[in-house]
C-alpha cells in the first residue's frame, strides 16, 4: 500500500486544473466532457487514483457499470489516502441500495479526511437509515461543530438526540436554536411544524405545563398554523394537566371534525370515563354525553355509533332502532360491518336481529301507511331491500348460511341489479366452501358495473380463491396498464399486496410451489421498496423542518414488516422452503407441466403468443442496440441506480432450487422476531419458526419458538404436534451433537408441557380425549400419531373420528385433513372426501376431480340473463 502511495503522482498545475474541471463537470452532469477531461489526465498520469475513481463514476453513470466499478476500485487501491475514491465508492453502493457498504466506504473516506462536510452529511443520512443512533449523535455533533451557522445542523442534532432517546438534550438544542433564530415569516407552515415538534419533545419529556405554555405562545403569535394538530396537542396537554380548559378543548375539536372517535374518547376521559372499558357506574354518564353530542351534531355518525357500544338493555334497543332504521332508509351498504363488533354481546346481536326483522315487516306491508309517514313512503322499497341485505349478512355471520341465501334470493327478486347483493351472496358461498360458485356470482356482480374497479378487484380475488389464476389475470387486466408485460407485472409494479398474496396462495394450494414462492418474494420486495422509500426523506425533512411526520415515518418504517401481508408471505414462503428441504423432489415439482392447467385453450394460446413476443423483442432491441449502443452510452445519464434486471425466472423454477433453503426461510422470518416484543406473534408464525430452527439444528431457538407458541395457546394442535416432535428429537440427541447445557435447557423447556413419566403415546391419547369435540385437535392428534409411527389404520381412524356427530369441524380443517391423508398415501382418502362432501352440503370443494373441473368452467359464467331483464 505504502508503495502505491509513494507512486501517486502529484499533479502539475495544468492537470490539477483539469482535475478541478473534471469535478465540476460531474457536478453539472456534463458526463461526456468529464470523461474526456479524465482521459486527458490519465494520458499523462495513468495511475492517478482520484482521476480513475472519477472516471469510473462517470462510466457507471453512462451505463458501463461493471467497467466503472472496477476502475473505482482500482483508483481506491492506488490512492487510499484520498477521500475521493471512497466517496465515489459510497455513491455507487448507495445507488445499488447497499447502505451498509456505502456507510463503510464513507467511514474510510472520513479516515482520509475527517472534516469533509459532504461525506459527514451523507454518513449521517446513512446512519439514520440504518438506525445506528449512537453513532448518529456523534457524527451530528462533529458536523455541527464544523458548520455551526447552518440551521439544519442544529435541527439534525436535536432529532438525532431524540431518536437516540435523549429527550432532554434534544430539548436543550431546540431551545438554543429558538434563541438565535431571528425573524421567520408569519404563517410559515414549515416553521410551524418545527415548533410543533418542540411541543412534542416537551410532551414526551413529561413537561406538560411548559409544552402548553409554548404551544399557546406560538399559536397566538401567528407561528403555528397547523390548526388540527395544535388543537389536538392542546386537548391532550390540558387533559394531562387536568386543566379546566380540557373539556372545551375537546369540544372545539369535535366541532371541527365530529366523526373522530378519538376526540369523543378524549372528552370522556376528561370526565374520567374510559370508553374502552365502560363500567356500570359510569355507563349512564357516558351515554348522556354521547347523546348530547348526537343531538348537537345531527350529521355525525361517531357519537351515535359509540353510544351503541356503551348502551345496554332498553337504552340499546331504542338507540339501535333509530340508528339502524335511519341507515337502512339511507341504504348504507356498510351498515352491517359497522355494527358487527357489537355482536360480541349475544344479547345485542339478538336485539339487532329483531329490530331489523321488525323493520322488514313494516316495509312488507306497504299499503295504507299512516298519514304521518307519507313522506318516507317513497323510500320504502329500497329500505326493504337494504333490510334484507342486512339480515342476510347477519345470518351469514352467525353461520345460518341457507337462511342468508334465501334472504338474498328474495332481495335479488326485488332488485336484480344491485352489485352489493351479488357480493354478499358470493361471500356466503365462499364461507360455505363453494369458491367456484362464489367466483361465478362475483363475476355477475362485476358485469353489473364494469366501470367499477372495486368490483373488478373483488372478482379477480375470488377467481384466485377458486384457483383460476389466468382467468383472474384477464379480469385484473381490464384496469391495468395496457403496455405492461402482463396484468400481473403491472400489479406487482404498483405494489398490490392483495394480488400478490392471493395469487401466491392460489399457486400454493394448487401445489405449484415455485410460482407461489415467487409471489411471496414479490411481497417481500414490496416491503424492501417501502423501506428504501424513506431514504430521500432524511435530507429533505430536516431541511424543511417537517419533523413530527418525519419521526413518525421512521417509527412506522421500523415496524413496517409486521404488516399482515408480510407476515403471511414470510410464513408461507418459509413453509415452502421447509417442505422443499424435507423433500427436494418438490423443487422439480409439477411447475412446468401444471402451470397452465387452469387456463382454457385460448388463454394458453395468448400466453404462448406473449411468450413469443417477449422472446422476440430482446433480440430486436439487441440488434438496434448494438448500433445505437455507443451513441446512447455517450449521451445518456443512466443514474447511479442499476437498471432493473429483466426477470429471467418468472415462474420461480430456478428460485426454488436455490441452495440452503432453511437459511432463506430464516432470513424471511428474521424481521418478524422484532414483533415478539410487541407481542403480535401468532401460533402459525411460531410453528414455522420452530420448523426452520429444528431443521437447522438450532434446538434452543426451536424450543424458544415453541415456548412462545405455547404461551399464546398451549392446546393448539400445531403446538401439540411439535411438542411430540421435539420430545422425540431430544430423546435421539446425544451429547457430542449438542452441547450439554443446551440439552439440559431443552429437556427443561419440555418438562413443563410434557412430564417425563408420561409416554408420548399416552400424552397423545390424553390430548385427543381432552379435545375429542374439536376437529382441529383431532387432526393434530392424528398427525402426532403419525410422528410416533403409529400404524396407518390407527391414524386413519383418528382422522375419521373428526367426522363424527358433535365434533366441530371447519371446512379448512377438513381440507387439511384430506391433504394429510393424501400425504400419508392413505387408501381411505377418497372415502374421507366423499364423507366430507356429504357432510358439507353446500360446499363444492370436496367434489370429485372431474366434477371440480366442470365447476371451474361453470364459474367463469357467461353474462347473466339478469342483465337483459333490467334493460327492459
Amino acid at each position: 500500500m505504502s508503495k502505491a502511495q509513494a507512486e501517486q503522482p502529484v499533479l502539475a498545475n495544468k492537470e490539477a486544473k483539469l482535475f478541478r474541471e473534471l469535478l465540476s463537470h460531474y457536478e453539472e452532469k456534463h458526463l461526456t466532457k468529464g470523461r474526456k477531461t479524465a482521459d486527458q489526465i490519465l494520458k499523462k498520469h495513468p495511475n492517478h487514483g482520484e482521476t480513475l475513481a472519477m472516471k469510473g463514476l462517470i462510466l457507471v453513470h453512462l451505463g458501463q457499470r461493471e467497467e466503472g466499478k472496477k476502475m473505482v476500485k482500482q483508483g481506491a487501491m492506488l490512492n487510499m489516502k484520498s477521500h475521493i475514491p471512497w466517496h465515489v465508492q459510497a455513491l455507487i453502493h448507495k445507488g445499488e441500495k447497499d447502505y451498509d457498504g456505502a456507510l463503510r466506504a464513507y467511514k474510510n473516506g472520513l479516515k482520509a479526511d475527517k472534516d469533509n462536510i459532504n461525506i459527514l452529511r451523507d454518513a449521517c443520512f446513512l446512519l439514520t437509515h440504518l438506525r445506528k443512533y449512537d453513532e448518529l449523535v456523534e457524527y451530528r455533533h462533529r458536523f455541527l461543530q464544523l458548520r455551526p451557522v447552518n440551521r439544519t445542523h442544529w435541527i439534525g442534532l436535536a432529532v438525532a438526540h431524540h431518536l437516540n432517546g435523549n429527550l432532554a438534550e434534544a430539548k436543550n438544542i431546540l431551545e438554543w436554536y429558538d434563541k438565535f433564530l431571528k425573524s421567520t415569516p408569519d404563517y410559515d407552515a414549515d416553521n410551524s411544524e418545527r415548533l410543533l415538534y418542540h411541543v412534542r419533545v416537551l410532551e414526551e419529556l413529561g413537561e406538560n405545563t411548559e409544552a402548553l405554555a409554548f404551544l399557546d405562545k406560538y399559536a397566538q403569535s401567528r407561528y403555528i398554523v397547523h390548526r388540527t394538530s395544535t388543537m389536538e396537542y392542546r386537548a391532550r396537554l390540558t387533559t394531562k394537566l387536568k386543566s379546566s380548559d380540557a373539556p372545551d378543548a375537546w369540544r372545539v375539536l369535535i366541532e371541527q371534525n365530529s366523526d373522530c372517535w378519538d376526540y369523543y374518547k378524549g372528552f370522556l376521559s376528561v370526565e374520567s370515563i374510559d370508553y374502552d372499558s365502560i363500567t356500570d357506574e359510569n355507563r349512564a354518564a357516558a351515554l348522556k354525553h354521547l347523546n348530547n353530542f348526537s343531538q348537537q351534531y345531527p350529521r355525525a355518525t361517531a357519537p351515535r355509533r359509540m353510544a351503541l357500544s356503551v348502551a345496554t338493555g332498553d337504552d340499546f334497543t331504542n338507540l339501535a332502532t333509530a340508528y339502524l332504521s335511519s341507515n337502512i332508509q339511507k341504504g348504507v351498504p356498510s351498515l352491517f360491518v359497522d355494527v358487527k363488533p357489537l355482536y360480541t354481546d349475544p344479547a345485542k346481536a339478538q336485539s339487532i336481529q329483531s329490530i331489523v326483522e321488525k323493520l322488514l315487516e313494516a316495509h312488507n306491508t306497504p299499503p295504507a301507511p299512516p298519514p304521518a309517514e307519507n313522506g318516507s313512503a317513497s323510500a320504502e322499497p329500497t329500505a326493504r331491500l337494504w333490510a334484507l341485505y342486512f339480515l342476510a349478512q347477519h345470518h351469514s355471520h352467525l353461520g345460518a348460511y341457507s337462511t342468508a341465501l334465501e334472504l338474498l334470493d328474495a332481495a335479488m327478486a326485488h332488485t336484480p341489479t344491485l352489485p352489493e347483493l351479488y357480493m354478499a351472496r358470493a361471500r356466503v358461498l365462499k364461507r360455505v366452501g363453494d369458491p367456484y360458485g362464489a367466483a361465478r356470482v362475483m363475476n355477475e356482480a362485476r358485469l353489473l358495473d364494469g366501470q367499477d374497479r372495486y368490483l373488478n378487484t373483488k372478482c379477480g380475488k375470488y377467481r384466485l380463491r377458486a384457483g383460476l389464476v389466468s382467468e383472474a389475470g384477464e379480469v385484473f387486466g381490464m384496469f391495468t396498464k395496457k403496455d405492461a408485460v402482463s396484468p400481473g407485472a403491472d400489479l406487482e409494479e404498483m405494489q398490490s399486496l392483495l394480488y400478490l398474496r392471493e395469487e401466491g396462495d392460489a399457486h400454493y394450494r394448487a401445489g405449484r410451489l415455485s410460482q407461489a414462492l415467487k409471489k411471496y418474494y414479490a411481497v417481500s420486495n414490496v416491503f424492501d421498496q417501502v423501506e428504501n422509500d424513506q431514504y430521500d426523506f432524511h435530507p429533505y425533512s430536516l431541511r424543511r423542518t417537517l419533523l413530527n411526520v418525519y419521526v413518525n415515518t421512521l417509527k412506522w418504517e421500523d415496524s413496517v414488516r409486521s404488516h399482515p401481508a408480510y407476515r403471511h408471505a414470510a410464513v408461507s414462503a418459509a413453509r415452502i422452503w421447509v417442505s422443499v428441504y424435507d423433500d427436494p423432489k418438490l423443487a422439480e415439482g409439477p411447475a412446468a407441466s401444471d402451470s397452465a392447467t387452469s387456463g382454457s385453450d385460448s388463454v394458453k394460446k395468448a400466453k404462448s403468443k406473449a411468450a413469443k413476443k417477449a422472446a422476440q423483442t430482446p433480440a430486436a432491441t439487441e440488434k438496434n442496440g448494438t448500433a445505437n449502443a455507443q451513441q446512447q452510452n455517450t449521451n445518456e445519464d443512466k443514474g447511479l441506480e442499476p437498471p432493473q434486471a429483466k426477470d429471467e425466472d418468472p415462474e420461480g423454477a430456478r428460485l426454488i432450487r436455490e441452495e440452503r433453503p432453511l437459511e432463506r426461510a430464516q432470513k424471511l422470518l428474521a424481521p418478524l422476531w422484532a414483533d415478539v416484543a410487541r407481542g403480535v406473534w401468532d401460533v402459525e408464525t411460531c410453528a414455522v419458526a420452530y420448523d426452520v430452527a429444528v431443521r437447522r439444528e438450532r434446538y434452543l431457538e426451536a424450543a424458544r419458538a415453541l415456548a412462545r407458541a405455547r404461551s399464546i395457546d398451549a392446546e393448539h394442535p400445531e403446538v401439540h404436534v411439535r411438542t411430540v416432535e421435539l420430545k422425540l428429537k431430544v430423546q435421539s440427541l446425544s451429547a457430542p451433537a449438542v452441547s450439554e447445557t443446551a440439552l439440559a435447557a431443552l429437556v427443561e423447556s419440555l418438562a413443563t408441557a410434557l412430564p417425563d413419566e408420561l409416554s408420548l403415546e399416552t400424552f397423545n391419547s390424553q390430548y385427543l380425549q381432552r379435545h375429542a369435540a374439536d376437529g382441529g385437535a383431532v387432526l393434530g392428534a392424528a398427525r402426532a400419531a403419525r410422528v410416533l409411527q403409529a400404524p396407518l389404520a390407527e391414524v386413519e381412524e383418528t382422522v375419521f373420528s373428526a367426522l363424527q356427530d358433535g365434533v366441530a369441524l371447519k371446512i379448512e380443517t377438513a381440507l387439511a385433513a384430506l391433504a394429510f391423508l393424501r400425504s400419508i398415501e392413505s387408501s381411505r382418502a377418497d372415502e374421507f372426501r366423499a364423507a366430507c362432501d356429504a357432510r358439507f352440503e353446500l360446499a363444492t370443494v370436496f367434489k370429485a376431480p372431474e366434477e371440480l373441473e366442470r365447476l371451474r368452467k361453470e364459474s367463469l359464467g357467461e353474462p347473466v340473463e339478469v342483465k337483459e331483464e333490467t334493460l327492459e
Binding site: V88, A302, S334, Y454, Q529, D533, T553, W556
Partner: protein, 240 residues
C-alpha cells in the same frame, strides 16, 4: 367511522384503498412524499378494525398562470388566438390530488367530510383561498358532490387520463381574512422578454395543472423537484 389526520402508518392501507378502487393511482413513495411534505392536508377514514376505507390527499401547488382571459393582455391573446408558452405569473393553490372511498363504504358522506376537512386545512394552514381538482368527465356522482361543496368547473382537458378520458378542472374559492393570507414568496415569473417572442397557437395548447398524471409516475416519482430533494447537486470535490 373514524375520520382523522393521515399518518405515515396509514400509507399501505391508503395505497390499497386507492389501488383497489381507482382506475389509476400511485406507488408508495408518492403517497409518502405527499404526506411528509404537507402533513396538515391529508385525512383518512377508517373502520373499526382500523382498515382504511377512504382518504383525501391534498397538495400545495404553484400554479403557473399563463393566460388570464380577464386581463387586457388576455383579451389580446384571445383576439390573436395565441397564448404565451411560459407562465407570466404564479399562483399558490391547494390541489386535491386524490380522493377515494371504498365502494363498500359509500352513501355515508365520508367523501364530503374528508373534502371539507382538507379544504379547511388548506385555508387555515396555508392561508390560501383557492382549491383545485380534476375529475373524470363521466364521474357524475363525484362532480355533483364537488359542486355541492362549491366547486365550479372552469376548464376541461382532453385525454387527461391515461385511458383517454377527458378531465374536468374545477376550483373553489374560500374566504381568507387579508391578515391571514400567506406571505411566502412565489417562484419568480419568467421575464417578459423571453416569452413574448414565443407565442404558440391557441388550439394546440392546454394548461396542465396538478401533479403529473397518475399511473405515469411510479415509486420514484415525486411532486418535489429533484434539486429540492437533495438540496442541490452532489458535490464530491474539495469544498467550496
Amino acid at each position: 367511522m373514524n375520520i382523522r389526520l393521515a399518518e405515515p402508518k396509514d400509507l399501505l392501507g391508503i395505497q390499497a384503498c386507492g389501488f383497489h378502487n381507482l382506475p389509476e393511482t400511485y406507488g408508495s413513495k408518492y403517497w409518502l412524499t405527499t404526506l411528509v411534505r404537507w402533513p396538515q392536508l391529508s385525512f383518512v377514514a377508517e373502520d373499526q378494525r382500523g382498515k382504511i376505507v377512504g382518504y383525501v390527499f391534498t397538495i400545495i401547488e404553484d400554479l403557473p398562470i399563463i393566460y388570464e382571459p380577464s386581463t387586457q393582455l388576455g383579451k389580446l391573446f384571445d383576439r390573436w388566438h395565441v397564448r404565451p408558452r411560459r407562465p407570466t405569473n404564479y399562483k399558490r393553490i391547494g390541489y386535491v390530488n386524490s380522493i377515494s372511498v371504498l365502494r363498500s363504504h359509500r352513501r355515508m358522506g365520508i367523501a364530503r367530510k374528508l373534502m371539507g376537512l382538507s379544504i379547511k386545512a388548506v385555508v387555515e394552514s396555508y392561508g390560501l383561498r383557492e382549491v383545485y381538482l380534476t375529475v373524470r368527465k363521466s364521474n357524475r356522482a363525484a362532480r355533483s358532490l364537488y359542486q355541492s361543496l362549491g366547486f365550479v368547473a372552469y376548464d376541461e382537458e382532453l385525454r387527461y387520463y391515461n385511458d383517454g378520458e377527458t378531465g374536468i378542472h374545477m376550483k373553489v374559492t374560500r374566504k381568507v381574512p387579508p391578515e391571514r393570507r400567506s406571505t411566502l414568496p412565489l417562484p419568480e415569473p419568467t421575464p417578459r422578454k423571453s416569452w413574448q417572442s414565443k407565442m404558440i397557437p391557441n388550439f394546440h395548447w392546454k394548461t396542465r395543472i396538478g401533479p403529473p398524471k397518475p399511473g405515469l409516475i411510479k415509486r420514484r416519482a415525486t411532486t418535489i423537484h429533484q434539486a429540492e430533494w437533495m438540496g442541490g447537486t452532489v458535490k464530491i470535490g474539495p469544498l467550496s
